[in-house]
Symmetry: C2
Subunit: 291 residues, 2 copies
């Protein structure tokens, strides 16, 4: 564990120094992954870290509190930029009915009901785009938030000559559980090689506060929709199966339904990985990924 932390510390310092960045900007969401990245950054370059808290109209009010707790715990400078006015000018709130005066718990119940209406495989439908028109608006609504956050992170990074650090983990990358050109779009990924369950172990070692360690992981993009609710699996199950697959180990002891679901997710997650594909790359992609 200590070795792994030191390895990440060296990576951060080496990356930043080699490319001549003066420091690092990161988004602090109040969740586990960004808490770990904040913890790592604070160990090697505390005075040159800017943590951005970027709530919007429909964010869980708890998230900002937890984000501030992270910045206080690791003593990094933080600033809050409310992205509501930007999303509003982009017309994002016209896509989703909940009114501004409705409480968070009402928004949550509404979103969960909508989600369930679409059946048990919304996440797979989201990845493939196979959904009714009505739901497409919901997709555009939630994804715009992470994309606007990316724009804000880069603006703040560029005026300072800083790099943007990402907070995406390996489980999210493999399952497509990220917003294309949103939270996946950064300069470097300090925890991009770690599965979610490994990030949790590192978090304990770094001293991430208990409230954050123990709360259910959530992208906080759609009120009430947590990671494991969207994926319909626990991170323990996904990670164990993904690790076995990576090592080429037998999946005999696993629930075949869960294995089948992981396999389907991995397959459609390949679609999210398609970025700026040219003619030649398309031919290769088809050969290896589409039957």
């Amino acid at each position: 564990m200590k070795d792994e932390i030191e390895r990440m510390e060296r990576f951060i310092l080496d990356f930043v120094e080699t490319l001549g960045y003066k420091g690092v900007v990161m988004g602090v969401s109040g969740g586990l992954d960004s808490a770990v990245v904040a913890g790592l950054l604070s160990r090697v370059m505390r005075e040159r870290v800017l943590g951005l808290i970027m709530p919007e109209r429909d964010s869980n009010p708890e998230s900002e509190k937890h984000a501030r707790l992270v910045c206080e715990t690791f003593k990094i400078h933080c600033e809050k930029i409310d992205i509501t006015p930007i999303l509003s000018k982009m017309g994002i709130y016209k896509l989703q009915p909940p009114a501004p005066l409705v409480s968070y718990s009402v928004k949550m119940r509404y979103a969960l009901r909508k989600w369930k209406e679409l059946g048990d495989d919304v996440f797979l439908k989201d990845l493939t785009g196979d959904m009714p028109d009505d739901y497409r608006k919901g997709v555009a609504y939630y994804r715009a938030k992470h994309r606007v956050r990316m724009c804000v992170l880069y603006k703040e990074a560029e005026v300072r000559g800083y790099a943007v650090a990402g907070t995406t983990n390996k489980t999210e990358f493999l399952t497509g559980f990220y917003v294309k050109y949103g939270d996946d779009s950064v300069d470097f990924e300090p925890i991009g090689h770690l599965y979610k369950t490994q990030v949790r172990e590192i978090a304990k070692e770094l001293g991430v506060p208990k409230t954050i360690l123990e709360k259910p992981p959530s992208p906080d993009l759609i009120p009430g929709v947590t990671d494991e609710f969207a994926l319909s699996m626990s991170y323990e199950d996904i990670d164990r199966i993904l690790m076995k697959m990576e090592k080429g180990e037998s999946l005999d002891g696993e629930d075949p339904n869960i294995v089948e679901r992981v396999e389907r997710i991995l397959k459609v997650a390949k679609l999210r990985e398609i970025k700026s594909i040219t003619i030649q790359d398309w031919e290769n992609f088809k050969k290896y990924n589409i039957q």
Copy 2:
């Protein structure tokens, strides 16, 4: 030439149909590259193309006229979304002095003077980030425009179940002449395999209007700064040298100063390609690209 056009047409149709998109959204800037992409799209799926014109406070007023001309020529549906209010809420205009009431030609003279103050290698400095603090604001200012355009393109694509088509060419990719997570961030790149000079030939064949064919290429991000001004070379020179390099041909007949400049640009352009790099990828990157 006809073969190349047919090849791109097949790519567009195959990509869109294989992934189940209902159509394509693209940004129409009024320049050559987007005119060619609009022309190609119109040939295979005219009724399912949305061309977005996204001017902002400091855009060249000519650009919108030319963008409309492109949409009329190729008979594609277009919509205008002024991104000024979004950029304004992001604080982008606070980064750059020109006042809203100043004419375009005054903004242009101001920007060119600033650019020249930084010496003859602003584009290289831009790629490496090696510049005075004052100029960093200018970098954040111009890059935010293409990033916000990306967010708007994806919003409009997602509500319709459309793909986002890019308009970046091979010369731009190789020289780093694009905004990271801006105009480079799309679903597919119909002309990503063509050098700029090849795009120009295709444009003639497709019937791109003469005004657009003949005007100097410009990203229209900083008033007055054209592509060739920023690169300090003509596309004829760059492309000829890049093509010789690609084929492994001798560069003996070329101006050694231009060759040296192209080589330096290619080297630093590698830095812009670094995206969301993890520990393992960083080790490989260093091995092959940094001495």
